[in-house]
Amino acid sequence: MTKKILIVDDEPNIVISLEFLMKKEGFSVAVASDGDEALTKVASFAPDLILLDVMMPKKSGFEVCEALRADPANAGLLIVMLTAKGRDTEVAKGLAIGADAYITKPFSTKDLVARVKTMLGIV
């Protein structure tokens, strides 16, 4: 069964690359451009993994992450935070509030794909 990935980012310039990449890798992909939309999409699309940007209008990635983790129904959802905030303190925060991985921008697309596959147990 194809794994489902939700991409959450307000910048179309990264969304286009990620969407293309993940589709090429054989995932089923959905996109949300802000925090609120992300929460709805999680409910409707039921992704296995979410690529979540931290800095977004309305709800920040941190808030979305916290909201998702507050609901036990999403316990199995994998959360990968993608962010331009590269400071140690922010990495620590991301992991502390329940992100499974924290990747700072810019990143290598190869590494990202490898990371996503490992997390989803596809080798």
């Binding site: 990264i14 690359s17 293309f20 331009a84 810019p106 990143f107 290598s108 697309t109």
Partner: protein, 720 residues
């Protein structure tokens, strides 16, 4: 018993002594005799009685004479001497006992005079010592005050109540710059002798710093404490506190009697730091997203070369778009934060013209080369390390002199936006850019003086640039120094020193003993803090629409009139001035228009008067004007008010006039101009200080007594 009475008693005793034994003997013999013997004796005696009586009388007179003489010499003489001695003891130190009378008395007088002589020598000596000590203490005080007033840091000394005992000019200017709202109208009334520092700094923070110092004192550490506080206007102040320790004779730790605060406004440097952070942030974190976008797009293009042309086009657009955005961000950052990114070498704000003048002096002095100035922007402030900059200019001049022997050099100072151009101009042949390049890199030299820095170092230190440029048409060339323009933080006041006489009264160490701020009516008149004020008005009838057009006030602290701490404000009455009143107060329509109105001024004045007793001449008049504004402004002047007119009437009840001019003349006070609110307030202050002494002679010492006495005077009963 009086001396005279004692003389009479002595005479009686003498009489009794001379006649008594004879009379008693005769009586005893008479009683013992027979009848025949008595007859015989009577006969015998009666015939010789006149001789006996004569002899006795003679003896008596002689005795009285001797007695009188002795009395004169010993008793009266000594009494006189006692009076003279009293006089010497009190009223007239130079009086001496006249040496007269019997030898014993003379000796006594001599001894008394000798003692007096000795005492005078001692007293003169003590007086001289006191005078010297006083003079040296005064000198020390003045030296300290002078030192403080010239310091570039803001210094404020307070007692433990937070009352300001001393502040320097810098502190005054700094806090004046800080004051916002109503106080800025008054010219920064916040700082002043005897005022509370807590109107400027947060009390809890000052208390905490004080506590830290006490702890450090008791644990033997260096007693110092730092804190950063925000003012009401949102400015950031860094304050450092060190204690003033009372000199105590006992062993152990000295008690803290006050503290010294050095205050620095760090708003600017903090802002600069923040801007630098922002710049850094926008260059790092801001780049991450962009580069991530580009990187992902590039990776896709590379990894999937066989994608559809449409998609390829989209990825290329992403890259193009992001690169364009990034370039823009970099440009923006550079222009916005150029100041912040520049070198951190401490530069001072200095007038460009001062740099030019200094360079001219040194060139003339060291190189004997004439210099001139061309276009000079004399109001241009630059950020510079003046020493190294002047050194660079002079060393360049020296090099020019060695290589091209110009007849004269010229300076030009202009500005373009945030940049200042300082040009060193000379006429002569063209120089190669290689030459100038070596000049730039060589360490600088003026004659035998050399600097470890090169011209380039100096330029870098200023975050500036330098280049060589030819003005072909004029057959001359110049070096252009490009330097950052500064906005001076605090501008000095040119009229600063002209106001008042002598040294500014920025200090009053006697306030160390100052206690409790609330006005206690039973305190001595000479101990309280006062605000003397006067108003100029459009006319004499406040209830008929006349308005205040000027308020002038000064403070009296510790029996001194502080000419530096004044309130002087013209007020827009929002109604036309009466032409006939203009010659009296000298305030014209032009002067009042555009000035703040009473709604703005009254709160500022109220703050200026805080915690003080008000004084005015014919206070009822001025108070009436203030009271009529109570409803409109909500400002109430509730403190006690003393009226110099009434107090003058208390002191001189029999004088006809108590007009200010007449009182000034009567009390021997000469002042310059009058009928300007501030000048009149100052005159009233002088009058009050004289009246305090005169009231004391009448037994009126406290404020309460003064108020009561004023109320009782005839004038008080004449209602305004």
């Amino acid at each position: 018993m009086k001396a005279k009475h004692r003389l009479i008693v002595a005479v009686i005793v003498l009489g009794l002594l001379m006649t008594g034994p004879f009379v008693v003997t005769s009586l005893l013999v008479w009683l013992d005799m027979k009848e025949a013997e008595r007859t015989m004796l009577t006969e015998l005696l009666l015939s010789r009685l006149p001789v006996g009586t004569m002899m006795t009388l003679f003896g008596f007179v002689l005795g009285v004479g001797v007695l009188h003489k002795l009395f004169k010499q010993y008793v009266e003489g000594l009494l006189r001497m006692a009076e003279t001695l009293r006089l010497m003891l009190g009223a007239n130190r130079n009086f001496r006992v006249t040496i007269e009378g019997p030898p014993e008395v003379q000796q006594l007088a001599q001894a008394a005079n000798d003692l007096a002589e000795q005492r005078d020598v001692l007293m003169d000596d003590v007086d001289a010592q006191i005078a010297t000590a006083k003079a040296s203490v005064e000198e020390e005080k003045n030296r300290l005050a002078a030192l403080m007033s010239e310091l570039a840091q803001a210094v404020v000394v307070c007692n433990l109540d937070g009352r300001i005992l001393l502040y320097n000019n810098r502190a005054r200017l700094q806090f004046k710059a800080l004051s916002q709202g109503p106080t800025s109208v008054a010219g920064g009334a916040l700082i002043g002798l005897g005022r509370s520092i807590f109107s400027i700094l947060e009390k809890s923070q000052v208390d905490h710093a004080e506590e830290v110092i006490r702890q450090r004192l008791s644990s033997g550490k260096t007693p110092i404490s730092n804190f950063i506080t925000t003012t009401r206007g949102g400015q950031l102040l860094r304050a450092q506190m060190v204690p003033v320790l009372a000199a105590s004779g006992e062993e152990g730790e000295a008690a803290m009697s006050g503290y010294v605060l050095t205050v620095e406004n760090i708003t600017r440097s903090i802002e600069e730091e923040e801007r630098r952070d922002q710049a850094l942030h926008s260059l790092t974190q801001g780049s991450r997203s962009s580069i991530a976008n580009i990187r992902a797009a590039v990776a896709n293009l590379l990894d999937y070369p066989d994608m559809e042309p449409e998609l390829r086009e989209r990825f290329l657009r992403v890259i193009d778009d992001e690169v364009a955005k990034r370039s823009q961000v970099i440009d923006q950052t550079m222009s916005q934060f150029s100041d912040a990114i520049k070198t951190r070498w401490p530069l001072e704000d200095i007038l460009g013209i001062d740099i030019v003048a200094a360079a001219q002096r040194r060139i003339d002095d060291k190189l004997k080369l004439p210099t001139k100035t061309e276009e000079i922007d004399d109001a241009l402030w630059i950020k510079a390390d003046s020493f190294s900059l002047v050194f660079a200019l002079v060393s360049l001049a020296s090099k020019l002199q060695d290589h091209y022997e110009p007849r004269e050099l010229r300076f030009r100072l202009t500005s373009a936006g945030k940049l200042a151009y300082l040009d060193l101009i000379w006429a002569g042949p063209a120089m190669s850019s290689e030459t100038f390049y070596t000049w730039e890199m060589e360490s600088m030299q003026i004659g035998s003086e050399s600097s470890p820095l090169s011209l380039r170092d100096v330029i870098d230190r200023h975050g500036g640039e330098i280049w060589y440029e030819r003005e072909k048409a004029a057959h001359r060339a110049f070096f252009r120094f490009v330097l950052p323009v500064a906005v001076p933080e605090i501008e000095s006041e040119p009229d600063e020193r002209s106001r008042g006489k002598g040294r500014p009264e920025y200090y009053d160490f006697d306030l160390f003993k100052f206690e409790d701020k609330t006005i206690d009516l039973d305190r001595k008149l000479s101990d309280l803090t006062y605000t003397v004020f006067d108003t100029e008005t459009t006319g004499l009838e406040p209830s008929n629409g006349d308005e205040i057009i000027q308020i002038g006030a000064a403070r009296i602290v510790n029996n001194r009139l502080l000419r530096q701490e004044t309130f002087n404000q013209i007020v827009d009455p929002e109604c036309p001035l009466k032409p006939e009143s203009i010659p009296i107060h000298g305030i014209t329509e032009d002067m009042v228009r555009g000035k703040p109105n009473i709604d703005v001024i009254l709160p500022a004045f109220h703050e200026f008067c805080e915690d003080t007793v008000l004084i005015a001449h014919n206070a009822a008049f001025d108070m009436r004007f203030l009271q009529l504004k109570e409803e409109r402004t909500g400002i109430r002047f509730t403190q006690p008010v003393l009226d110099t007119l009434l107090l003058s009437a208390v002191v001189h009840p029999n004088q006809e006039s108590h007009k200010l001019d007449v009182i000034l003349e009567r009390l021997g006070i000469t002042i310059g101009t009058r009928h300007n609110a501030l000048e009149d307030a100052l005159a009233t202050g002088e009058v009050f200080l004289k009246l305090v002494k005169l009231l004391e002679d009448k037994g009126i010492v406290t404020v309460r007594q003064a108020l009561e006495a004023a109320e009782k005077t005839y004038f008080a009963r004449v209602k305004y």
